[in-house]
Symmetry: C2
């Protein structure tokens, strides 16, 4: 009994939910807006996390851990940051429960255990971290500080969607401190490039690197750099951000250092993060009506071997051959499973298709006689009969080919969906009918941006780095503009 | 300027704090009872976590992630568990801050954003997980479920100590579901053995495996298995626990499965966890008055090379030789750092001694001429001059020798500190003067246990597995007893 999936054409949003839930990635929980990440989804996150972690360490960063709670007085110290997150914070006000005298066996919040100062469950950690850095930084010799944290954060979103927007999510947040503005800006851009490299190389999702407009900046940042990806429904998704924070947090927490001339200066800061939201991007960039399609480089399972047999005797022969093949594949570093469970082969084929396992190998008695296997690739669903000789290398090559093909396909789709609009009508029509990124002139004002958002739900996703400068007129106001920016409806 | 350390003889407790803070493992934070784990301390935790994670996966477990918050109604469902943790819970009651009309630039909890149902920040996750397992388990085919979670948890402790007892801490919690009692008990014992293996083999800390008394059981468990370690001040430390939960949580959350005969049964459960507390055990088991002593198998840094030179010219020669040596060591998988910073060699020696780096190599011009290096081991502080030929193997062998020696030393100390007491006077005298574990007869009653605790602050650490049965009389009451149990004062 294969699981019924909604198709993209029927209901894109339901299709997405079906893949997440029926594909065993995650599920809703008893806590409003919080999800349970199931083992298959968590294995995917582990692969993503481990690769990112390697890339952070290769670029000189170390991991550390800071408290989950931010005292309200610290939270409000950087006013813009506080204002940006105040409306969606979980607040701890008490530290004890007691027996409810009116309801036997039930508990109630103990009013005597009210905290003197409320604690905010971190929506992001700049405040608690910069309050700590104050103690760590005295001289230029203490700089730079290059720290990353893997953590859970909470933002009390009203409308939640699995992976894309949940009240609690997992992420990493880098927080660096520098002696000069230039060094901090360089770090901001360096980490943007690490993110772009990761998302393109490992997730096979092409991204556009750019800078956010003032309206779309992180609360408390001087500049927010971002990578923007395109989903199959033509909506954009912000896949990662890297913020140049200037001296805002240093000033809010009074973090100064004595420079080489022994003069006090405020420290320069960056922060950067990606989250479990990336899993949402992965799903929507690659999957199809049959289920998930996992990029081989981060797939929880890269290959599966399914025995096809009648009777226990032939199973024993297949088991033996499969064991040899498993050893071969594992020796080459391929993560592979032999599924000899009781279910029918057809059921298994559908199940691994749904889960997006890149390579499926079917192995029957006749295959063994002929020294071949049937190999199916998930991305194109092509099947081919290949020799058992050198099967591990064949699978390795196939995994590479799939990874490359997935990226190329997503890139072609993305490139086909960047369209110039020169008039308002064109802009609106493109947004509704073609979707994707619309490159259009904008007069640079926050008001215009806001107005366009109100009228169309499209936002400026970014001003691409190294954007071509060209004279033009704002599509809404007709005011002069010096460059096109990328609009889209977005997740 | 070497950092001044308190000695163990001067003030054991201050010595511990000095090592944690001056050794750059962790620091206090602005949040009551919460610590900041600094990069060096976090690198240690990563090594411990990664090794444990491998051992969990090798024994068939998968990681997943469950919500940080537990709705109060779920939290109170298993009454004993709820009662056990109710007094030390952080409670989220609101989901928004707003501008404080009376204080410009300040925020206040928005009274309009009160949650209908309060959320408990997880002190442990049985409740939220078993509420989820209810949806995952229908038939015996869905069992066993073997899941582990790496997470932060919060227990509002009144008296906190870095690593040993903090309001927030990092841990892993395994939560498994089984069709039979026997299978669940086997799992409980299996994971206890994994913990013992990890702590002894990787942390070089010998442990005693045992079962807790009823009084000391995890709230909601039928049986709590534990590993107990001994610190240098003669106090015991519970290093890990594995709980057989019976059907308590299955009944509280109504989790039933249809067995092979198609009859409904309640599911059997286990849970097991170790935390960043283990770092406290590591420090107190091995360190000395000069600082930390890291077991090579989990040391954040296994070796350091310190150049000893006068003038830039000789430094260039040493740099070149060190680069070759670094490459050799890294090729053998040794984590090594070349410290050519501006500080004096003597300062560096003291610093790496404080941080407990197992092997220190000093490299000067004359050493290079003689094709030797000076190698110092942290555990015994012995120095020796060794040939540069095959230096990587020499270091590897030294790391093994240090690991073994640290375990042997801790084991000898522990074994010398298990003493039989046959009378109350002997018991009290041993506790005060010799310290360590006291093996004594106990009448098996919770009241007696409580009374002994009141009188001496000693608790029953465990009833060792495979304990020798022998007739005797309770040291307090004189009532008959069938075996000795291990008492100690404990962290």
């Amino acid at each position: 009994m294969a699981k019924e999936l909604t198709t993209r054409a029927q209901d894109y949003s339901q299709w997405y939910n079906d893949l997440v839930i029926k594909g065993s990635l995650a599920d809703y929980s008893a806590v409003r807006g919080c999800m349970v990440i199931k083992p298959y989804g968590f294995a995917l996150w582990e692969n993503m996390r481990d690769q990112l972690d390697r890339m952070f360490k290769e670029t000189g960063h170390q991991n550390a851990y800071f408290p989950l709670f931010v005292p309200k007085s610290l939270f409000e110290a950087e006013e813009k940051n506080a204002e940006g997150f105040a409306k969606e914070c979980a607040i701890v006000t008490h530290y004890r429960l007691k027996s409810d005298p009116d309801k036997k066996g039930k508990l109630m919040v103990d009013p005597d255990a009210k905290l003197e100062e409320e604690l905010v469950v971190r929506p992001t950690s700049e405040a608690i971290i910069w309050n700590t850095y104050k103690d760590w930084i005295q001289s230029y010799r203490d700089l730079p500080i290059l720290i990353n944290q893997w953590a859970n954060v909470v933002r009390w979103e009203m409308r939640t969607r699995l992976f894309l927007r949940t009240a609690e999510f997992l992420w990493q947040e880098g927080h660096t401190a520098h002696a000069t503005k230039e060094e901090a800006v360089d770090e901001t851009v360096k980490m943007l490039n690490v993110y772009a490299d990761f998302v393109e190389t490992y997730m096979a999702v092409p991204v556009i690197k750019g800078v956010k407009t003032t309206n779309e900046r992180f609360a408390g940042a001087e500049d927010t750099y971002c990578i923007e990806a395109l989903m199959q429904d033509g909506k954009a998704l912000q896949a990662g951000t890297s913020h140049f924070l200037g001296q805002n947090f240093a000033k809010a927490f009074n973090v100064q250092f004595s420079n080489k001339e022994n003069k006090l200066e405020y420290v320069w800061a960056t922060s950067w993060g990606v989250s479990t939201r990336l899993i949402g991007a992965l799903i929507m960039a690659h999957s199809d009506d049959n289920g998930l399609v996992m990029p081989p480089k981060i797939a929880p399972l890269q290959a599966v071997i399914v025995p096809v047999y009648k009777g226990e005797e032939s199973k024993a022969v297949i088991d033996a051959r499969a064991a040899v093949m498993m050893a071969d594949l594992k020796a080459k570093g391929i993560s592979v499973k032999y599924d000899d469970s009781d279910n029918r082969p057809g059921w298994k084929f559908a199940e691994y298709e749904l889960k997006g396992v890149p390579v499926r190998i079917a192995l029957g008695l006749r295959d063994i006689e002929n020294n071949v296997v049937e190999m199916a690739r998930r991305d194109t669903k092509e099947k081919q009969t290949v020799s058992m000789d050198g099967i591990a290398d064949t699978v390795l090559n196939m995994l590479d080919a799939i990874q490359q093909n997935m990226f190329n396909k997503a890139l072609a789709f993305r490139n086909e969906h960047i369209t110039n609009a020169n008039t308002w009508d064109e802009f609106v029509k493109l947004l509704d009918e073609k979707t994707g990124f619309i490159a259009a002139h904008w007069d640079g004002s926050g008001e215009t941006e806001e107005k366009i958002k109100e009228l169309t739900k499209a936002t400026i996703r970014c001003i691409p780095l190294d954007n071509k400068q060209e004279a033009g007129k704002c599509i809404l106001t007709g005011q002069p503009s010096t460059q096109r920016v990328l609009f889209a409806r977005a997740y």
